[in-house]
């Protein structure tokens, strides 16, 4: 299997005035393409911080990170957007859809940022919306959609660009059990079709069975990595 994300002694220390908070203790992990990984742990354990570093949004204090074999921990602020554009898509707890744009336009805008243009972008958008079951809601504004539908638009936006890495922070945090499950199952199904590496930070135990691998964090340390038997 191809290594999508590889960390070596990756570590993040926040400097808050004179106080230092080590949000992520040195950790070395390998995450492969086609894998759906759950990142579990109590509040404040460092899940979001680790996810931000893996997503090339936050730079590690020390250690190395490579994305599909490319070393990125030494890159500067101006070089990181290029990496994100090429490899990484995000899904957030609050959906983060432009309220003024329809589902279709929100996805299209994401695609344009990723450099997909022309009728191809529009075709992909339409197809993606069909796949997440929103073919009949294409031209709805976010305010006219339920939370589950909005998160499915966000999933479609993340997947439409064909980026090999999808990072999601608490994607089910604003959804009820059944909608949360539906969104996660959809994400898993579409991601494995495209052989994406998916990392989901969550403390929603009810969706544990969906993941191929589960990483448990506590106080910034990775305590345990469990391979699901399902």
């Amino acid at each position: 299997m191809t290594d999508a994300l590889v960390t070596r002694e990756l570590c993040k220390v926040y400097q808050e005035g004179s106080i230092q908070v080590t949000a992520v203790q040195p950790c070395s992990v390998k995450l492969s393409a086609g894998e759906v990984i759950g990142l579990f742990g109590p509040s404040g354990s460092g899940k979001t911080t680790l996810l931000s570093i893996l997503g090339c949004i936050l730079r590690p204090t020390s250690g190395e990170l490579s994305v599909f074999g490319q070393e990125v921990s030494q890159l500067n602020e101006n070089q990181l957007p290029e990496i994100r554009r090429k490899y990484i898509s995000f899904i957030f707890q609050a959906f983060n859809l432009f309220p003024a744009l329809t589902a279709f336009e929100n996805i299209l805008l994401g695609l344009r940022i990723k450099g997909v243009v022309g009728s191809e972008a529009e075709d992909r958008t339409a197809k993606m919306l069909q796949e997440v079951g929103l073919g009949h809601r294409m031209h709805f504004l976010p305010r006219d959609m339920s939370g589950g539908q909005k998160q499915r638009v966000a999933v479609a936006r993340a997947l439409a660009a064909d980026c090999p890495i999808i990072l999601a922070d608490e994607p089910t945090g604003n959804l009820d059990i059944s909608n949360g499950r539906k969104v996660m199952e959809l994400l898993k199904e579409l991601a494995s079709e495209k052989q994406c590496c998916v990392v989901v930070a969550t403390h929603d135990n009810r969706i544990e069975d969906i993941f191929d691998r589960i990483v448990y964090m506590e106080d910034g340390f990775i305590r345990r990595i469990k391979r699901s038997n399902a």
């Binding site: 931000s52 949004i57 554009r85 432009f98 805008l109 344009r112 022309g118 945090g173």
Partner: protein, 402 residues
């Protein structure tokens, strides 16, 4: 609500074009338009702010330039190249008299083609219903017409030649009531018959202007010493440099000031604009309007940016450069600037007639329009920078807060 309709028409036509265009820039412009149309209340407030600020700038600049044009309108419309005044006269309207024989000294220079005397003085006119008004009396050589009215609405200057006759500008009626040709009015307690109405003659002081023959003015204006004039206007012979003649006359006439026509026009404008402080108060209003515009536009765009900060952050997370997002902000500012500008321009054009009716000039010329356009664009771009600074500092952490 005409401008709202205009805004919607403009944006939808822009949308139509954009849909076919796939360049990232125009996508960002499209997003900006959608954001503006989505939050109509806020967009309307922004637009009204721009219209208010720009309208005020147009108005103040227009009135100021109108006053400037007015202050030198007689100089600018009088033929000749050189104006001679008494020593230290500050402007056209309040110049002191000097002996009229000076004209002969001037004519002795062989670079001079002709020289004409002109009286500009202050007089009193009796109102029909009693009471008096101040007026500016201009006495000119009727035979040559130099310094006289340049456009007649009714009657002719020829009639001024013999007797107690006068011509009044149509703009004077706002002050003096309706005056028709053939009527009599008392000026300096002397009964004069109005024999013509001219056009386009106004004074900075807003006092009505009355024309009469030079000899009549010399006789009527009681404070002028006998055999004196207020100006001498000189025409330089063809091919002779004006500056050279002016310098020679300066050397010759120790008791006078000698100006080229443009120098004297400028001196008069400068006096009214700068020495009286009138220009400063206009400038102050313009600067304040500009700042208020920045505040209103900056404030509403900033609020909108803050409301969309997570979405902008998401675009950044997906790999958008800051510059991509700046385009959304700048587009919003530019759309407000352009629509607001056009509406203000239309309002300004509509009010020109209104100002004319009350005897004032609202100056609108292409370069004023262009200048205000640049000012408007600057105003909105500066306003956008408040938001751009915020975008630059987006902390990725905001994306992960629920």
């Amino acid at each position: 609500m005409g401008f709202l309709v205009f805004g919607v028409v403009l944006s939808s036509s822009v949308l139509g074009v954009l849909h076919l265009n796939n360049k990232l820039d125009s996508v960002m412009f499209y997003v900006a338009v959608r954001i503006l149309l989505y939050d109509k209340a806020r967009s309307l407030i922004t637009l009204i702010g721009v219209i208010f600020a720009v309208g005020l700038i147009f108005n103040q600049l227009g009135i100021f330039l109108g006053l400037m044009e007015t202050s030198s309108v007689i100089i600018d419309n009088t033929p000749g190249d050189i104006w001679i005044t008494s020593k230290n006269s500050k402007n056209f309207d309040f110049a002191q008299p000097f002996p009229e024989y000076t004209r002969h000294l001037v004519l002795a220079d062989n670079g001079v083609q002709w020289a004409e005397k002109l009286i500009v003085a202050w007089g009193i006119i009796n109102q029909k219903e009693g009471g008096t008004e101040q007026l500016e009396v201009v006495g000119f050589n009727v035979d040559t017409g130099v310094g006289g009215p340049w456009e007649m609405k009714e009657g002719s200057t020829d009639l001024l030649r013999n007797g107690n006759f006068a011509i009044i500008d149509e703009s004077a009626m706002a002050r003096l009531g309706n005056i028709s040709v053939g009527e009599y009015r008392d000026v300096f307690s002397r009964r004069l018959q109005i024999v013509g109405i001219c056009k386009g003659v106004k004074s900075f002081t807003t006092a009505p202007v009355m024309y009469m023959s030079f000899p009549l003015a010399q006789k009527l204006v009681n404070y002028l010493p006998s055999e004196s004039t207020v100006f001498i206007i000189v025409k330089v012979a063809p091919g002779v440099p004006v500056k050279g003649v002016a310098n020679r006359l300066r050397g010759l006439l120790k008791g006078n000031d000698v100006y080229t026509k443009s120098e004297f026009s400028f001196k008069t404008r400068y006096y009214w604009a700068v020495e009286t402080g009138v220009g400063f108060s206009f400038l102050l209003t313009i600067v304040i309007s500009f700042l208020v515009g920045i505040l209103i536009v900056g404030q509403t765009i900033y609020n909108s940016t803050m409301e969309h900060i997570k979405e902008f952050g998401t675009l950044k997370a997906m790999g958008a450069d800051n510059a991509d997002i700046y385009k959304i902000i700048i587009s919003q500012a530019m759309i407000n600037a352009l629509i607001g500008y056009v509406v203000s321009l239309i309002i300004t054009f509509l009010t020109v007639g209104l100002y004319d009716a009350i005897g004032m000039v609202l100056s609108v010329s292409w370069w004023v329009n262009l200048f205000v356009l640049l000012l408007t664009v600057c105003m909105c771009i500066i306003a956008a920078f408040i938001s751009i600074r915020r975008i630059k500092k987006i902390d990725p952490a905001i994306l992960f807060r629920g």
